[in-house]
């Protein structure tokens, strides 16, 4: 009984000492401001990465469109063409996630540029067109990439797709040259 009271008193003294302690204040303050700070720094970095990769995607799409319009890609299957597109992309991209849509534009209303849809597991559920335009036809090439983003606290999230990714799109329109 006596030892229990001694223990209790010791505990009370320790609590009182803790409450009046002054050192460690900056660490406690940092713990309070750190979440806001980290969110801002992380959001800045994420925005910069998305911007750079968007620019890479645009360049890769321009180069692939040139392959189609110069009749260098006519015999390629959808998978082979995707590999050719990936060859123009830096290693930051995962080739399996790259989405390609290629179609000839025969009339203004026939172009299908509806954004791709994904199922709940983040797998592409819509069928993207793949048809090589022939000489003299106008081709529409879309290269898309779902860039994975990590949602942040305080409601900051760059994702514009249901599966927590930011969809990058580059569209190229060109007239296929004579063979």
């Amino acid at each position: 009984m006596r030892s229990l009271r001694r223990l209790f008193n010791a505990g009370r003294r320790a609590a009182a000492a803790f409450a009046t302690r002054r050192d460690g204040g900056p660490a406690a303050e940092f713990a309070l401001v750190a979440p806001i700070f980290i969110v801002v720094v992380y959001a800045t970095a994420q925005c910069a990465i998305i911007f750079i990769c968007n620019s890479y995607l645009e360049t890769a799409a321009e180069e692939s469109a040139r392959q189609v319009l110069t009749n260098q890609a006519g015999s390629l299957s959808a998978a082979q063409f995707k590999t050719a597109v990936c060859a123009d992309m830096p290693a930051l991209f995962n080739c399996a996630s790259v989405m390609i849509s290629l179609q000839p534009a025969t009339s203004e209303s026939s172009i299908n540029t509806a954004p791709p849809t994904f199922n709940s597991n983040g797998v592409l559920s819509s069928t993207l067109p793949y048809q090589q335009p022939t000489s003299g036809q106008i081709g529409v090439l879309q290269v898309m990439y779902p860039w994975p983003v990590i949602g942040l606290p305080l409601g900051w999230n760059f994702a514009n797709l249901g599966n927590g990714a930011y969809l990058m799109t580059s569209t190229q329109v060109f007239k296929v040259e004579a063979q």
Binding site: G25, P26, A27, E29, F30, L32, V33, I36, F37, V40, V41, A43, T44, C47, A48, I50, F51, N54, S55, E58, E62, A105, S107, E108, S109, I111, T113, P115, I138, V140, Q142, L167, T169, T171, Q172, V173, F174, K175
Partner: protein
């Protein structure tokens, strides 16, 4: 005189005391530092966001202008009353196809209202710095250039080109930045690309066809 100066020296002494107290007060340093750096960090983030998106949109504006000019100049003309001609509907279709390049800033094939385009044929004047509008086709609510009006060419473009025809593709995109932290104003991004017709010296537009 001494009576009047006494309160002032008192005030000064008290102010010096407060100043020392503030200087020696090391409490809440981390919070003060965070409060100082946070506006800078937020401004950097906001500027990066506007800059990156505007840069991306401007790159697509230039590519759209190049695309529409490229499509029109590659059209194979038909001879109508001695002039190589293309129907107006063909030029409208080219403008519509090219507008798809702006995706996702504009929808496709029905463009957003903040994207307007213009295809114009110009004849380079003998002064080699200006050109005269031959025809002008607007897209999505743009105002056509008046036929016979003068266009000032970019420096050096018209040198040695007098009497030649150029197709000028113009794109205007009204970009509204995300209004986050720092107020940002609406920008009109614009670019114009000039190309010569490929299959003939000039391209006459057949209005209403």
């Amino acid at each position: 005189m001494t009576n009047a100066s006494a309160p002032i020296s008192n005030i000064l002494r008290r102010a010096a005391h407060v100043g020392r107290a503030l200087r020696d007060d090391t409490r809440a340093m981390a919070a003060v530092e965070a409060a100082l750096i946070l506006p800078v960090a937020l401004t950097m983030f906001a500027l990066l966001l506007y800059g990156a998106e505007a840069f991306d949109a401007q790159r697509k504006v230039t590519l759209t202008a190049r695309t529409v000019t490229d499509l029109i100049t590659q059209t194979t003309p038909t001879m109508v009353s001695g002039k190589p001609s293309v129907p107006q509907s063909s030029i409208d279709a080219d403008l519509s196809y090219a507008s798809c390049v702006m995706t996702p800033f504009s929808s496709c094939p029905t463009p957003s209202s903040n994207l307007t385009m213009l295809a114009t044929e110009v004849l380079i004047n003998s002064n080699q710095t200006t050109a005269t509008v031959q025809w002008s086709e607007p897209f999505n609510g743009a105002t056509a250039r008046v036929v016979g009006s003068t266009v000032t060419l970019p420096t050096g473009l018209g040198t040695g080109q007098q009497g030649n025809y150029f197709i000028m593709g113009e794109v205007y995109y009204v970009y509204t930045p995300l209004n986050l932290y720092t107020p940002a104003s609406v920008m009109t991004l614009h670019d114009a690309i000039y190309l010569t017709p490929r299959a003939s010296a000039s391209l006459n537009m057949l209005v209403g066809q």
